[in-house]
Symmetry: C2
Subunit: 383 residues, 2 copies
Amino acid sequence: MAISDAQRTALPTLEDVARAAGVSRATVSRVVNGAPSVSPELQRVVQDAIAAVGYVPNRAARQLITRRSGVIALVMSIAPGSAADASALDAGAPDDAVLRDPAPDGAASEDASPDASADTAVDRVFADPFFGRIVAGVLGFLRPLHLHPLLMLAEDEASRALVLDHLRQGAADGALVVSIDPADPLPGLLVQAGLPAVFFARPERPLPVRYVDLAHQDGGRLAAERLLAQGRRQVAAIAGPLSLHAGRARLDGFCDTMARHGVAYVPYTVGNFTQDSGERAMRELLEREPELDGVFAANDLMAVGALHVLRERGRRVPQDVAVIGFDDSSAAASARPRLTTVRQPVEAMAARMAQLLLERLDEPDSPPRAVLFDTELVVRASG
Amino acid sequence: MAISDAQRTALPTLEDVARAAGVSRATVSRVVNGAPSVSPELQRVVQDAIAAVGYVPNRAARQLITRRSGVIALVMSIAPGSAADASALDAGAPDDAVLRDPAPDGAASEDASPDASADTAVDRVFADPFFGRIVAGVLGFLRPLHLHPLLMLAEDEASRALVLDHLRQGAADGALVVSIDPADPLPGLLVQAGLPAVFFARPERPLPVRYVDLAHQDGGRLAAERLLAQGRRQVAAIAGPLSLHAGRARLDGFCDTMARHGVAYVPYTVGNFTQDSGERAMRELLEREPELDGVFAANDLMAVGALHVLRERGRRVPQDVAVIGFDDSSAAASARPRLTTVRQPVEAMAARMAQLLLERLDEPDSPPRAVLFDTELVVRASG
DNA sequence: TTCACCACTGAGAGCGCTCTCTCGCCCCTG
DNA sequence: CAGGGGCGAGAGAGCGCTCTCAGTGGTGAA
């Protein structure tokens, strides 16, 4: 990895600007950084000189002394063998067949896929609409502040160490961590290293950290109330992994509310938040409870899977069976029938997460705080 | 934005390690950077000292002299009023209704969505599965090299300037640019500024740049051949924006192949790559050609929209009408019936794009090159 | 008039690292 | 045994910036 010499042709420095403007380096620096006290005339002169020589400040030099990089790490943390034990599933439908184009007609095309991507946990993370929403939320908040997120992935011992090192080296001023594994050691490591971090969803093991989270239980309640209001009494649930707070709480909220209204028995199956697992779960539930008239899935992807199976089995939605999802992801609106779902304001949560980190950066000694977001029921056609 | 003083408690520097090891700063530096010539004993001593004092190199100091940040910018560039003139559509189905939870039961929850995100072009970009695939591909390639992508968004004059400034300031060594607007000035600006950049898809206006792209036309041909092989002759197409090369070429490849096989008339409608536009297009096509028996959509999202409309209209897929999509995105596999589609190896393309950038960084004077990827037909159930 | 006090600007010391240059040492050769 | 070559290590000069501290000139109060 050589040095990019090409246009290293001596970019202008503060010194150059100072010379051009006939002032000192310090004065130019003051102007560049929103001068607290530089006379208007000099300010003009310096501004002109900056424009004339085409000066841009060198981030590295600035960071060296200010100890601020102006970068925020966005860490997607997925430990292998995690709650998403989905590795065995969905590796392409069995009926898939790839017809390779035998002879590209003359074009100098190159088939350059060296390490053909196996469909790993990693790919699944980025394929989930959840990821895009997080990014959109973070970016929306950071952009006006002229900050940018550095995307990092932690999936094993090595990459976790790398993330920690990068942070310690000052590659970023702090980390926004989306951890989707209850046994993930990263949160603990970050705290231990004293690195500024804010989490999406509370860590599974209690830690004195800042985080944003959702009133999951309440979401489950909303779904239950909706089904109850429709007179559904033979309901079932497709839960998320019970090792995750989100998985347990959504289910609990649903079941508790049902129980409170006299529906004591709520059969459920555990999925892993993928569409395929939703399909499997729905099949199993129909097997067990052929008469069911309502289903609550702990996320939209699983709900969509349930929708497919119900259609395949000739059940009409919502006439025969009502289906309620969770998240209000893009999948909910594009499903047919459109999915009634419990909204999780992911973008707003992600934005808030970023805001919490900046607060922590500005006031290192402020006590850790958490922000809980409320859910809403988005009523569409499925239930 | 004050300084995070908390643990600024004098991180150990090279100097400290040198003292601890009883050697000079230079020697420690050599060891840290894969010493070309340091005696094994000394190496051991230094390594131990590094571990003992808990040293991590300071990136800023290093970057200041090496002029390498070890960061790659990943720029999503969307000019407003672009090909995706989707602003008018899909802003929530009209039948949506939000039931706000009136009284959260006591919990100290906070409804903190200050700038409630309007569904902007930005959100749409990140909601598209395409984005996740790009990220996954880039990350897959960069990660083993211990490099990280800095995510930037360029959507208007101001943010474009910001991206350019950041690059000039050395926030990143180069840029990977995904530009989804034919009129986007960013590619030109980057070239003009002499900044290292590689593009996903060729710039609409010819520029001497590196890029990866797809044999779009060939993909259209594959789709046509598939339909022809099934004896479909009343075919139609849902095209992408014709202002984009991808939009035109996919359509051209499809129509040309049809023509070559005696199907001279191929009605088509232009969509904007969203599911909604696919639905609208399908409705229009059915209106115009009630007898059609095959549809080629320029991407999977639009194909899924077509699927919905066909079902709604009582057409069986694939018995009555065959549907072929493009991209082989997650939407294709999760649709019902599963979507036959032309695969675009986005992950591999993104990885290659990153590789091209690193090559450019290593050899600034190497001539711009492009890499074209081939398509494949992925046969599933829809056609 | 004198002195304290601003308000503004300049000088200079580093931030932590890399890299060139130099030096010392050992080994090989004539 | 002297001289040359090569290798390993140290010294020191910055990279471009910020920030403290000192200095200058002007003003108002004593």
